[in-house]
Amino acid sequence: MAKHKKIREGRAIWVAFLALIGLGLLVAVLLRGNDVILFNPKGLVATQQRRLMVTSTLIMLGFAVPVLITLYFFAWKFRETNPKATHNPSASRGKLLMLAFWAMPTAIMLILASLMIPATFKLEPQDTIKAEKDLLTIQVVALRWKWLFIYPGQDIATVNYVQIPVDTPVQFQLTADETPMSSFWIPHLGGQLYAMTEHNNRLNLLADTPGDYEGSAAEINGAGFAGMRFTTRVSAQDDFDTWVAKTKQSPAELSTPEYKKLLGPSENHPATFYKDPDPSLYSTILSKYAGSHGGSHDHQTQGAGEH
């Protein structure tokens, strides 16, 4: 009986090892040729986020892996079919060890917190990014189920398409109109931020590599949620200027009746281009919901609370 058990236990450990390796191989194979976006950042913010993620993970694994190995090692070493193991029901009574139990994870958490707190302040999305080039402001309105981009400085507007010049600090001002809470996310460039009615959140990003990147809505907001995707094109400054000039020649104009049409629900909306958006459109949308708190919610840069 004991022999059966020993064989079974030994076999189980081998199977576990092999299965783990098999899993790793399978995953590696599946990953070939794929873009693991969070490890492949194309913007300043995303790069720093990746660094923080990798460093924190390594610190945690550095602590957790030895602990887990110890646990499984003890499980194996002190199994009852092991005649060499000593059995001592009174083992583990020392006070020093107990203090160590509490001290070790506390130390790890202190280290992580010392990384996390400065990083949270440094990577505060509502703060503008200091760079050589001037800030480009784009006003974003979450609609059902599409994203409206208004370029106040360039007098153009787009739906489900946004183009920005490389190495330029961009501030996306986010709100929503007749739409539940939505989340604006371009994972290649940085993290997400919510776009909500009567609130004006600001997401600051800076792209450092030209290319086409997909953005999406990351918070469920109704039936057409999965199709609420948009293209982000990062191009050189000249290409950007060319594009702006071309869009200004668009036949379509973002007038008030045109905007009202956009307010109606539509799914998988194709990229659309407009000229001459009403310059007060964004503030009109914000103030539509205002009067509640005596003014709409403008989240200032430094030290902003929720209201």
């Binding site: 059966h4 058990k5 299965a19 899993l23 995953v27 599946l30 794929n34 976006i37 969070l38 923080l52 993620m53 993970t57 945690m60 957790a64 602990v67 110890t70 003890f74 499980a75 002190f78 199994r79 009852e80 059995h87 029901p89 083992a91 583990s92 107990m98 139990f101 509490w102 070790m104 958490m109 992580l112 917190a113 996390m116 990083a119 990577l123 509502q126 539940p180 809470m181 989340s183 994972p187 290649h188 993290g191 931020l193 919510y194 009615t197 609130h199 997909e214 809505a217 990351a218 907001n221 039936a223 949620f225 999965a226 009067g291 708190h293 989240h299 030290g303 902003a304 609370g305 929720e306």
Partner: protein
């Protein structure tokens, strides 16, 4: 006229889509089978008297297991539907579900698993085991116990009611964030079903939590101070104190959502001054502690299992207790980490991030205490111990991913992605569910009188562990690839499909694990005579529940033991406790009040869902009348005289074997092949019997 009597109900509400027709037929067939079986075996009276109106926490515990287990299958079916849709719906294909339907499926999946599976099974365990562990005969309030159970059942019925009437459930995600859950964006009855299934069962949970706290704090055996209590009782106490602190928040928040939808108030609307962000805060102030409410009892279960199967008392008991209290307290302070991305300042975000990280400290101390317990122990790899070993790996993964998510800038990239989904499934499956499975395996001999088949149990553990890693590793990776959760469709160019398919395969392996668990139970029933636990102590246990028979008599202990140490029973075994004289035992009478009140509660909720106002009003009056009738009933107990107790005990001990069979000898447990043979033989026997009967 029709509108007065039927509200918004009409022909259109009856099932007319493929899944509502399928679901309705399934439930109706199930119901008819049960009714037929009960009628054929003439067991209606027995069912009513022995089970449905019982206030015995052992009976109520088993009923929780049955309902919770059934809901596990229902929620698991939802999971398979999700896996299937996401594996198919790439590029040109949109899968087999519409977006609206898919959104309802994962909403139902989340609600069912958290409220009706996890809470149900945990309440079952606490009901059955805690009174035995503290030397009590019953809970403090038997009436509140049965009422809490039937309110839970009313919630179960409500969450499945949409199959029959209405055809839609909430499509908002399991917590129905505002303003998506408001009338403007969710005009149908789905969110209303969501409100009332959670509200009714939530009240049941609150009552249960009050009851458990009263019991643990006021009904322990003489000599059992708080620091001599078993750790499962400690975990349950911490969990229930949290529950009593936060379920009122859920109750009130659900009422506010209801008022917005039913009366047109403006708590969370986008117009007239409503504040949707406030809903997010309120619901997560409940929601985060809720997941720790689910986790604490599992921590307690594992502490007991590691100790028993290492043949050692738990190391650093006081640290272990402090750690559980620490987790419970801090859990109340971290809710904002669920919405770092909503726009709070860096000060607020980092404060909550730090608080969230701090929870990892007591959790790690628990792991250390388990390691120290195993050190120089003599470890037996029974099925409960295997569940523990699986839990450690999976829960560690969940913990690490959790601390990662607690870092706000990192969370900005991972929020609402499949990485998040993988994280919470790691902790909930690896932690909560494995703990429940381990506890059920561990205490099954006590509950049923025979132990479970160890062989098939091992297969089930492996299937779950392997299935978990195959199903959720791809989800971690998909999250890192920028995949958002809850998508009903995605572009084929993203390269996500192979990972979704791998997840589906893992899901099917988990389904095999569930099937193996069912087979394990059936095989154990078939071999129950051989697997019998004659002594009440099959594992050489350490705590008081093992001092009673398996299963225990209705009064648990003929004489309440006096406790002198921690691991009370272990000491008693070796010290030969002196004999005590028998006394009269006061027992609570059965009552149907819990059933009646819950029926009225269900009808009131149904009336609110369909705006059948007269029904809601009449049902509320019904609740009040039943409550008055019950609480002013002064005749709710009966007494078992001491002489009768003596006779019952003598009859019990005469029947028990004095020979202690080593139940660790599991070489004769039937394997899968033998099981298949048995079932086929039995089925053939029935078929032949029918054929011969026809002749």
């Amino acid at each position: 006229m029709k509108e007065f009597w039927l509200g918004k109900l009409g022909w259109h509400a009856l099932p007319h889509e493929w899944f509502t027709i399928l679901g309705s037929i399934s439930f109706v067939m199930l119901g008819l089978t049960v009714i037929a079986g009960l009628t054929y075996t003439k067991r209606w009276k027995w069912l009513w008297n022995e089970w449905l109106t019982s206030v015995d926490p052992k009976r109520i515990g088993i009923m929780y297991f049955i309902v919770g287990g059934f809901m596990l299958l229902r929620g698991g079916l939802d999971a398979i539907m999700i896996w299937l849709q996401q594996s198919l719906s790439s590029g040109a294909s949109h899968g087999y579900l519409t977006a609206e339907h898919f959104q309802q499926v994962f909403t139902a999946h989340g609600n069912i698993m958290v409220f009706f599976v996890a809470m149900g099974l945990i309440f079952g365990l606490i009901n059955y085991i805690v009174p035995l562990q503290i030397g009590a005969r019953d809970l403090a309030s038997p009436f509140m116990n049965t009422l809490g159970f039937w309110l839970y059942v009313a919630g179960v019925v409500m969450v499945n009611m949409f199959f029959l009437f209405g055809g839609e459930y909430a499509a908002t995600g399991w917590l129905a964030v505002a303003p998506l859950s408001g009338k403007a964006f969710s005009p149908g009855v789905g969110v209303d079903y969501w409100i009332w299934s959670l509200q009714i069962s939530g009240v049941g949970t609150t009552l249960g939590a009050i009851n458990f706290i009263m019991t643990i704090l006021k009904m322990r055996a003489k000599g059992m101070t708080l620091l001599k209590m078993p750790l499962f009782t400690w975990g349950s106490l911490c969990s229930m104190i949290m529950a009593v602190s936060v379920f009122p928040l859920l109750t009130m928040t659900l009422f506010l959502v209801f008022f917005d939808r039913y009366f047109g108030t403006h708590f969370f609307t986008t117009d007239a001054g409503g504040n949707a962000m406030m809903y997010t805060n309120l619901i997560w102030m409940w929601g985060h502690p809720e997941v720790y409410i689910l986790m604490l009892p599992s921590f307690g279960v594992f502490s007991e299992i590691v100790s028993t199967f290492s043949r050692k008392p738990i190391a650093y008991y006081k640290s272990n207790v402090l750690a559980m209290i620490g987790v419970s307290s801090i859990a109340l302070l971290v809710w904002l980490h669920h919405f770092f991305t909503m726009g709070a300042s860096a000060e607020v975000n980092s404060a909550f991030g730090v608080a969230t990280m701090i929870i990892a400290i007591p959790t790690t101390v628990l792991v250390f205490s388990w390691i120290a317990t195993m050190y120089k122990g003599r470890i037996r790899f029974t099925t409960p111990m295997l569940w523990f070993l699986g839990f450690i790996a999976i829960f560690a993964l969940g913990g690490i991913s959790g601390v990662l998510l607690a870092i706000p800038p990192v969370d900005f990239q991972l929020h609402n992605s499949l990485f998040l989904v993988a994280h919470f499934h790691s902790t909930v499956i690896g932690g909560v569910l494995f703990g429940i499975f381990a506890g059920l395996n561990y205490w099954f001999p006590k509950i049923a009188g025979f132990r479970l088949n160890e062989r098939i149990g091992r297969y089930a553990v492996w299937a779950w562990i392997v299935g978990f890693f195959v199903a959720f590793t791809p989800l971690y990776i998909l999250g890192l690839m920028g995949a958002t959760r809850r998508l009903d469709h995605y572009d084929s160019s993203k390269g996500w499909q192979p990972f979704y398919i791998m997840a589906l395969v893992g899901g099917l392996i988990i389904a095999a694990g569930v099937a193996l668990q069912i087979v394990q139970i059936i095989a154990s029933i078939i071999q129950r005579k051989r697997l019998r636990d004659p002594t009440g102590d099959p594992w050489d246990g350490r705590t008081l529940e093992w001092a009673t028979a398996s299963p225990p008599p209705s009064y648990n202990f003929a004489v309440i033991p006096e406790v002198k140490t921690r691991d009370a029973y272990f000491e008693m075994k070796h010290l030969h406790a002196p004999k005590h004289a028998f006394e009269d035992i006061h027992m609570p009478k059965n009552t149907a009040s819990g059933i009646y009140i819950s029926i009225f509660a269900f009808l009131a909720g149904f009336g609110f869902v369909w705006e059948i106002n007269w029904l809601a009003v009449v049902s509320i009056i019904g609740i009040i009348v039943c409550l008055i009738a019950r609480t002013f009933n002064e005749d709710s107990e009966y007494t078992i005289p001491a002489e009768v107790v003596r006779k019952m005990e003598k009859a019990r001990t005469d029947k028990a074997d004095t020979h202690r069979k080593d139940s660790r000898d599991d070489e004769d447990d039937m394997g899968l092949i033998e099981f298949a043979k048995t079932v086929i033989t039995w089925a053939l026997g029935i078929a032949l019997g029918i054929v011969r009967g026809k002749k």
